[in-house]
């Protein structure tokens, strides 16, 4: 299973993501830069978190319009798995690869804490190593994670099982509609989520609830 990580100026969770992918798959991901127009043959493309282009205009707006994102979209159309975490989720939404929008947290505060997530759909390439309905721990760190979609889009997401992770046990940190924390696109091979599974993969992190996500997506699920 080969993976690539997209690097854009202002991202800062790339190191953690590379460490997670490397330690779990045994292979270091390839690096793709914002001006690259092609992406090597890989099975998984990851856009990590951070503050690409300083969050200017809207979070992820500038990054979503860089050449590399056209290449990511082409790969996604061919069925390559694409995963965006935090700013990566915002970029995928701004690029139109996932529906809806991510708005300022209703508290207007940056939140950096641990939340509970329920696995709402364990039948995706990203979640097959979890049990349906399993509640996991996961850290969040963001200012703009308040997911919004118009009523028709929301009904479609809910009806088609595209809501993959939901904040559970009253831990919604941002006012996100229907407690949505992560969604997949209609074809199921593009995932966006605000929480950071890469920061909870080994005992030294205080837990490993994020690890099954990587095992799922890297084809290592038992």
């Amino acid at each position: 299973m080969k993976s690539a990580i997209v690097l854009l100026p202002g991202l800062n969770r790339d190191r953690d993501m590379i460490a997670a992918l490397t330690s779990i798959s045994g292979h270091k991901p390839l690096t793709v830069w914002e001006t690259d127009t092609t992406i090597p043959d890989v099975d998984l493309i990851v856009i990590p978190g951070g503050f690409s282009y300083g969050d200017y205009l809207r979070c992820g707006a500038i990054a979503a319009r860089m050449p590399v994102m056209r290449a990511v979209a082409e790969k996604a159309k061919k069925g390559v798995l694409v995963m965006g975490v935090c700013n990566g989720f915002q970029i995928l939404v701004e690029a139109g690869m996932l529906p809806g929008a991510l708005m300022r947290n209703t508290s207007l505060k940056f939140v950096c804490r641990e939340v509970k997530l329920s696995v709402e759909n364990a039948d995706t390439a990203f979640t097959q190593a979890y049990r349906q309905g399993q509640v996991i721990r996961c850290p969040v760190a963001h200012h703009d994670g308040n997911y919004y979609a118009d009523p028709e889009t929301l009904a479609r997401l809910e009806g088609d099982g595209q809501v993959v992770f939901r904040y559970a046990e009253g831990t919604n940190p941002n006012g996100s509609i229907n407690d949505i924390a992560g969604i997949v696109d209609h074809s199921g091979n593009v995932l966006g989520m605000m929480p950071h599974p890469e920061n909870l993969i080994e005992p030294a992190h205080g837990g490993s609830d994020g690890r099954p996500l990587f095992e799922s997506v890297l084809g290592l699920a038992a």
Binding site: A61, R65, E94, A101, R104, T106, L108, Y148, D150
Partner: protein, 80 residues
């Protein structure tokens, strides 16, 4: 040269927590009777040339492609 002002505002029905906070702050300053406050963005853009129809079309394309997120925002283009 053509000058234009673009305003980008949140669509009706989209919650605006920043607008709400401003609304409360105005109330706290003693401004009575302040209804809803919605926060938006303003872009002043200068364009080469004198073709106003083309400028307007270009500016709308800029809004659609970058300046506004049409999932949650409306835009308005005014040539000055």
């Amino acid at each position: 040269m053509i000058k234009a002002r673009i305003t980008v505002t949140l669509k009706n029905g989209v919650l605006d927590p920043q607008g709400k906070a401003i609304e409360h702050a105005l109330g706290a300053l003693g401004f009575d009777g302040v209804g809803q406050v919605r926060q938006g963005k303003v872009f002043d853009v200068e364009l080469d040339g004198a073709d106003r129809a083309r400028a307007e079309a270009d500016l709308k394309a800029m809004c659609e492609k970058l300046l506004a997120n049409t999932v949650i925002e409306n835009y308005n283009v005014t040539l000055t």
